[in-house]
């Protein structure tokens, strides 16, 4: 982190600064005071500088490009109009029964219609409905994993924790292949059911399949942020509660739950926003009956109907931001002060005693492990199997040979595997290094108290909430084609632009993982540090960040994951250059047979899995700082 490093240069000043509040008029003290003041100024400026740089990056690589598209919703043929919105909001196809409200019917009549069994949700309503279901499923599947990872000790625990994020980066075509092979008519699940004499289930091309796939992607997110929060719970707080006579259950509800709760909500809010903007997976595993808003945004953009596409995207954005805002208000209210440094002791997986209290949670975890194996491991195993299966159904390495051959003989305009791997790793590392300071700075800014900060906070989340298709088109217009200034066209493509775009997509997750922790910190800790002469940046680096370190590492892992998995912005910005990444390679390798694409997918799986383990190991070593 650039910011923290520079902060440490101010050590001479801060050491002397101890005397700041002592009434001593000696010359040494005066110099010390001045130095301290100078260092403080520099540090204050550094935070400001980072904040300004962050804003500049956001304007250039996000707000301006996106605005070039969204403005088409309100400017049609050169005139400002709200007609496009009015048309969508009055259209039952999009907003269901609510359309009658916008058409002037009484709210009572609309409410009655909404409660009737044959109500219409409209595309927007249905999209929110499936996102809500997906959020519930993701939390239900993510929480037990967090419990296991945060509270139990077993061999491979840290590796498992690192690997939980892997599903998050998988391209939808891979997930579709894995899901069809697992949950299809002839899939693994039905084979297992048949061997135990149960009737087959017909899961594919239903809403259930889509919801499970969304949980496949997002339960890891819930699990990861919750684990980070749970690991930050201070053992001494629990011990104090216990010594005051609270039973273990009571101590959990009073001490642990309030600290874990906000993280669960973070995961839930992010899941809702991600699944609200879902696109290819819905049509791959559900079908067009389940089309979401993004499906229509895509088609409208493809047909160059920009006004309607932009208006739909704005409606999508407003709903996502409203959900984030509601969550942020709740987060602010529910934040609990903590000064945790010593994590709770972990329990062994083997029950130490055969009591109900010891055995029941472990039985629950065993059941969960079976469910998790079916939902997470089986599809991934199917992907791996698909990569070594030939057209005749026999095992083969021909798809990997294709990758090797493409690497050796690929033409200049063709995507080759190794540059894709290298670019993915370089971009993701660089994007993480940019996203971390951006995220921390915004987190610090949003934990200060001022009017409207929740709005600022929500606006900072916008990169998560804007339709990916619109962002892609915006980047094409704003960065690839550039802006004409005094006869010169200023444009940005290639590696640097991709890194910045990835950092912009990833930094909101850093904010969301780090901010609740910062907010929950006991202010007196920071105040003491400041009173002892530590600058703001120094207090942040030496006191606050170490206390929320698990959240910082989780944020870094997600920034990395988002960069690795990013597709839309990458293909737009990689035009002509050799800046393509692994997901782009997978897409380009899709042919009539998916073999080569799945082989590349397995490469992606392995490379990212290893990267996550490395990130968390590095992050773990850093912790004592």
């Amino acid at each position: 982190m650039g910011g923290s490093k520079t902060g440490s240069d101010s050590t001479p000043g801060t050491e002397d600064g101890v005397s700041d509040d002592v009434d001593s008029g000696g010359p040494t003290a005066a110099v010390g005071q001045r130095l301290a003041a100078l260092a403080d100024r520099f540090d204050a400026d550094l935070l400001t500088l980072l904040a300004v740089a962050t804003s500049a990056v956001l304007v250039v690589a996000f707000y301006y490009p996106v605005a070039t598209v969204l403005v088409e919703a309100v400017v049609v043929d050169g005139a400002v109009t709200l007609a496009v919105f009015a048309e969508i909001l009055r259209d039952p196809f999009y907003v269901g029964e609510l359309a009658r409200l916008f058409a002037g019917e009484s709210p009572v009549a609309v409410a009655r219609a909404l409660l009737s069994p044959d109500r219409r949700l409209g595309i927007v309503g249905f999209t929110a409905y499936q996102a809500a279901l997906s959020t519930v499923a993701s939390v239900a599947l993510g929480l037990p994993a967090a419990y296991l990872l945060a509270r139990f000790e077993f061999p491979g625990r840290r590796t498992l924790r690192s690997l939980t994020i892997v599903p998050f980066v998988l391209p939808s075509i891979m997930v579709a292949v894995g899901f069809v092979a697992t949950f299809g008519d002839r899939g693994t699940l039905n084979a297992v059911l048949a061997t135990v004499g149960l009737p087959p289930v017909d899961l594919l091309f239903t809403l259930e399949a889509v919801v499970i796939a969304h949980a496949f992607y997002n339960a890891p997110l819930v699990a990861r942020v919750t684990t980070a929060a749970w690991e930050s719970v201070d053992a001494s707080a629990v011990e104090t509660a216990r010594s005051l006579g609270a039973g273990p259950t009571r101590a959990f509800y009073d001490v642990v739950a309030p600290q874990v709760y906000p993280a669960v909500l973070t995961g839930a809010a992010l899941t809702f926003v991600f699944t609200f903007g879902t696109f290819p997976i819905v049509l791959a595993l559900g079908g067009f009956e389940l089309a979401t808003v993004e499906v229509f945004v895509y088609r409208l953009v493809r047909d160059l109907s920009y006004a309607e596409a932009a208006a739909l995207a704005v409606i999508e954005l407003v709903i996502s931001l409203a959900v984030l805002l509601a969550y942020l208000r709740y987060e602010a209210r529910s934040s609990v002060q903590s000064r945790g440094v010593r994590p709770l002791p972990r329990r062994p997986l083997h029950p130490p005693a055969l009591t109900a209290r010891e055995v029941l949670p472990r039985v629950g975890l065993a059941v969960y492990a079976a469910v998790a194996a079916l939902i997470f491991l089986a599809p991934i195993a199917s992907m791996i199997l698909a990569s070594v299966t030939g057209g005749d159904g026999a095992l083969t390495l021909e798809h990997y040979r294709f990758l090797a051959q493409r690497q050796r003989t690929g033409a200049a305009f063709q995507v080759r595997p190794w540059p894709a791997i290298r670019n993915s790793l370089v971009f993701a590392t660089a994007a993480t290094l940019v996203a971390l300071p951006m995220g921390v700075v915004v987190a610090v800014l949003t934990t200060r108290k001022y009017r409207g900060r929740k709005l600022v906070d929500a606006a900072a989340m916008a990169p998560l909430a804007v339709s990916g298709i619109i962002v892609g088109l915006g980047l094409l217009r704003g960065l690839v084609f550039g802006v004409e200034v005094a006869g010169w066209r200023i444009a940005a493509t290639g590696a640097a632009a991709i890194v910045v775009a990835h950092a912009v997509s990833g930094y909101p997750v850093v904010v969301r993982t780090v901010a609740p922790g910062l907010e929950g910190l006991d202010r007196s800790l920071v105040e003491s540090a400041r009173a002892l002469g530590a600058s703001r940046v120094r207090a942040l680096r030496d006191v606050e960040l170490p206390l929320v370190w698990p959240a910082v590492v989780a944020g870094a892992a997600f920034a990395f994951a988002i960069s690795i998995g990013e597709f839309t912005a990458t293909v737009v910005l990689a035009t002509g250059a050799d800046a393509y990444t692994m997901p782009v390679a997978i897409e380009r390798f899709i042919g009539r047979r998916l073999g080569p694409a799945t082989a590349m997918g397995v490469v992606l799986l392995v490379v990212t899995g290893v990267s996550f383990v490395v990130i968390e190991r590095l992050g773990g070593e850093y912790r004592g700082l």
Partner: protein, 317 residues
Amino acid sequence: MSPGEWLKSEFESRVDATLEWATPDNEVNYYIERAAAGAGIDADLYVGLTTEDLVRVDEALDDDLFAERGDVDGVADVREGLLFDPFDRAVPYDTGYVSLVYDGTETEAPATFEGLLDDEHAGQLIAQNPGASSTGRAFLLHTVHRFGDPDGTIEGGDGDPDYDYLDYWADLQENDVRVLGSWDDAYAAWSEGEAPMVVSYSTDQVFASQEGENLEEHQIRFLNDQAYANPEGMAVFADADEPDLARRFMSFVLEPEVQGEIAQRNVAFPATDTATLPEDYAELAQAPADPVTFTYDELQGSVDGWVEDWERQYAGN
């Protein structure tokens, strides 16, 4: 080796020039956007134009994106009905047919559109989203061609003015058709045995035999002996730096042996009737007795509405 790579080395061996391919992800929309933003086109020739692309280009831009084809050798050899551009810009170089592919060990595909509505074929067909997939769109257009549209602009070959493509799709949906997102989604699900019929290309057996698969599981069915034709063309950009070189390339592409190579490498059908192809090519790459397609004029102003009306009926949540 892909046709792109082969064309490049073959062309460069004959002409003192370097050919550079660019493959922007949003295809022709990318150049429409470039032109609209005044960002310069940066390319001489576009390869892969469809009739619909041309309609879209002409609706979106006031100025011409493409120039007239001018003097191109071999245009006279292009098969009848394939010259899809009424303004003589695009030169077709190949065509494909969208048909049903079915697993003959599981079902026997019906001979007609109406047959797909039979009980025995309930839940047996996988199609694709016409808003995102070209096979999905071709199949939708084929149903419009067969049953007509509601305002009667297209009469339809079924002879029933009261039954249009939306009625047919309502019946198809009733019979549990699956409309997935992309061709990849659909073909992957079909390959896994989720349903025995899929909307795909009539050249499926060429691939299947290359990979040693059982051809019985890769049967082709032309509904009503028809298939929707998707000719692909190329056109010179209006502000190309090297228009003459681009035209020379187009002439080269229409040469008999080059046409044969393109058809085989793209697994498609040549645009000319003079192409050199192996004797047995037609055995595996099947062509319908009665190829159908909409003209530029028929698509213009209509195709967006057809897709949108279909979406509204099919996805009414």
